[in-house]
């Protein structure tokens, strides 16, 4: 089982994923529908949806995915996101778009802002009996299980491997070049510290992580392991100004890059550390070694693991869940454990 995982991981790092599925014009396509009238504008949910779509496609024997993103311009958000209005949805979908480019099977991606056009496509696909997720009736009833890991766990149990996410289409080579130019020879840790209180649309602030603890951890890790480079990911407003002063830190957003670049860098990093949030979902589904902290207990029922479980059912020993609010000691302890293991040294 471990052999399979290692093989998949090496493929993901090779930078060639995301091409094989589209290099040929042939292919049995799967339709994926993300209708924002009932699907949220959220990075983690978009990535979990993409992963679920990969699973459904693999289960149905499909080797290509056509994604339909549907927005009704006069009512662009669901009732759970009333802050999404006709006047700001363009900025919001623009900032989320790269998350929909992460499936290796992606063959086409369509954004519909016109219901009649989308519905004609939908009826055509129904008439052709094309496999789709959510199903036609699921879509008609606005039912989409984009949060849970139910399908993912079941697929893993049956096959012992998963169709992992990859860098956003077109950004993989850029990430390799970034690593060569800015991180040469260093151990790269992608970090995301959830700070919704600093974001443009604050929500669920109790899920935010303690910034001072992370700062202290990065200082201590830098002193003990000078070869380690931390990449701070997340919205420009969401990280702390003091991060600028840390010598072992790079902030891609300050270097003029955006979410697509960050997702690609995360996929090419050696390790991910961060709060349970959108970037953590990317780390989870692109099979990185990770520590995900501050996992919400409520989340346990959706991912089908008991509170306190150290790994997801499909996780390896290098993929750790931490269910409490993190401290600098906890972060350093887990970091050193993962650092040693990923570099192939025995854990001290």
């Amino acid at each position: 089982m471990n052999d399979v995982r290692l093989r998949d991981n090496s493929q993901a790092m090779s930078g060639t994923q995301g091409r094989s599925g589209t290099s040929s014009d042939a292919g049995k396509p799967m339709i994926g529908i993300y209708d924002f009238s009932y699907g949220p504008y959220a990075l983690g949910d978009a990535l979990t949806w993409t992963m679920n779509l990969n699973i459904v496609a693999a289960t149905a024997g499909c080797n290509a995915i056509d994604q339909y993103l549907v927005i009704t311009p006069w009512k662009p958000g669901s009732r759970y996101q009333p802050f999404v209005t006709p006047h700001n949805y363009v900025s919001i979908i623009d900032s989320l778009f790269p998350a929909f480019l992460c499936s290796p099977m992606l063959r086409s991606l369509k954004l519909f802002r016109h219901s009649p056009t989308f519905n004609l496509f939908l009826l055509r696909d129904v008439a052709r009996r094309r496999p789709m997720w959510p199903s036609f009736f699921g879509h008609l009833n606005r039912r989409l299980d984009f949060i849970s890991h139910r399908r993912i766990n079941a697929y893993y149990k049956q096959h012992g491997q998963l169709p992992w996410l990859v860098s956003p289409r077109g950004y993989g080579d850029w990430a390799d070049e970034f690593r060569r130019n800015h991180c040469a020879g260093r151990f790269v840790v992608a970090v995301n510290i959830r700070q919704s209180s600093l974001s443009l649309t604050p929500a669920n602030l109790f899920r935010d992580s303690p910034l001072p603890e992370w700062r202290a951890f990065i200082r201590r890790a830098g002193a003990r392991h000078p070869d380690v480079l931390f990449l701070i990911l997340g919205g420009y407003t969401e990280w702390d100004r003091e991060m600028f002063r840390l010598p072992n830190v790079l902030i891609p957003r300050v270097m003029g890059f955006g979410l697509a670049h960050e997702l690609a860098l995360l996929q090419r990093a050696d390790l991910f550390m961060g709060s349970s949030s959108g970037f953590a979902a990317m780390a989870t589904f692109c099979n990185k070694p990770y520590l995900i902290s501050n996992v919400q207990h409520l989340f346990a029922e959706y991912v089908d693991v008991p509170v306190g479980a150290r790994h997801y059912p499909f996780g390896t020993e290098n993929q750790i869940l931490y269910w409490e609010v993190e401290t600098q000691d906890v972060l350093l302890e887990h970091f050193e454990e993962l650092y040693d293991r990923v570099r192939g040294k025995p854990a001290s």
Binding site: S23, N88, S108, L109, R113, H114, N119, L140, G256, A260
Partner: protein, 317 residues
């Protein structure tokens, strides 16, 4: 609004709010029928862009292309399909998406990495008479490569009615300039690295103007007090476009920011993009746009740019 249209709108909105079967099914069927009627009546416009090989400046290509396509379209909504090469590694797809979203009349956008799925979808977007006419069908395709001088000039002279940036981007741009420049002139710089000397010359010649630099900073570059780099501010492409539009003048590349600045109707000085010896040194359009297709000898160019700026942005006494 006519009674029939009002009734149709009421039914449409009511059905779209009843988000469960069988109302949603009825909504889907009615909507699909409406689209088929639109296709039959020919009230649709679809354009297919074929991106061949490496397209380093695809966002700019998109802006020039859409402007051409939409000129004379009569303000109708439109659909865009892009055929992308499967092996493209240009890391600019997000910017392409951002550019397309600035067109409020865009009904749908399709990104295709496979020609068969594009061929499969096109009949659902093309008007019936176009579908049945091979010549018209072929005309909706265009290869997106390096734009020609003619296309650049056409863009200079067009009215650019199509671009609408998000309100938040426009608000933030105006607020930033208000806070930083106050009532003084604000000029947006986006000068390519090889012309850094020009930016330095212009900045030092106009110490009364506040400059906002969107280009990547050169290493070990000492910045003047009246020039602020915004490159590291984490701005999205739409936010940078809003800044280029909100400033009193734009001096920089003929890229997507230059295209956005042109649509603001303010003073725009564009640099580069041409081929040496194939066009005049300077191409003007109206009294607010000057393009130097192939930047000339440093001193001459710097003097010309400062003169144009001074003519439009007279020093405040």
């Amino acid at each position: 609004m006519p009674q029939r249209q009002r009734l149709r709108k009421f039914i449409y909105r009511t059905l779209s709010r009843l988000g469960f079967f069988p109302f949603t099914f009825l909504f889907v069927v009615l909507n699909a029928a409406r689209k088929m009627i639109l296709l039959r009546q020919g009230h649709v416009l679809v354009r297919v862009g074929v991106v061949a090989g490496e397209a380093m400046n695809l966002p700019r290509c998109m802006m020039l292309w859409l402007d051409r396509v939409l000129t004379g379209n009569g303000g109708h909504p439109f659909d865009v399909c892009l055929r992308l090469p499967p092996l493209a590694a240009d890391a600019n797809l997000h910017d392409v998406f951002a550019v397309l979203l600035t067109h409020p009349r865009l009904r749908s956008l399709g990104l295709y990495w496979d020609s068969s799925s594009l061929a499969d979808d096109l009949p659902l977007l093309q008007a019936k008479h176009v579908r049945n006419d091979p010549a018209a069908s072929t005309a909706s395709y265009e290869e997106l490569g390096s734009p020609s001088i003619k296309q650049f000039v056409a863009y200079l002279e067009a009215d650019h009615g199509g671009i609408v940036l998000p309100v938040a981007a426009k608000r933030d741009a105006q607020t930033l300039l208000k806070r930083q420049a106050g009532g003084g002139y604000a000029v947006c710089l986006n000068v390519p690295l090889e012309l850094r000397w020009l930016a330095d010359a212009v900045v030092s010649a106009r110490t009364d103007v506040r400059f906002f630099d969107l280009a990547p900073p050169a290493s070990s570059h000492l910045r003047a007090a009246n020039c602020q780099s915004l490159y590291g501010h984490g701005l999205t492409l739409q936010e940078r476009m809003a800044l280029a539009q909100a400033a009193d003048a734009y001096v920089g590349s003929f890229d997507e920011l230059g295209c956005a600045a042109l649509s603001s109707g303010r003073l725009v000085i564009l640099l580069g993009g041409g081929t040496a010896g194939t066009q005049p040194d300077r191409i003007s359009s109206g009294d607010t746009t000057v393009w130097f297709p192939v930047p000339a000898e440093p001193t001459t160019l710097a003097t010309a740019v400062v003169q144009i700026l001074s003519r439009k942005l007279a020093p405040v006494k």
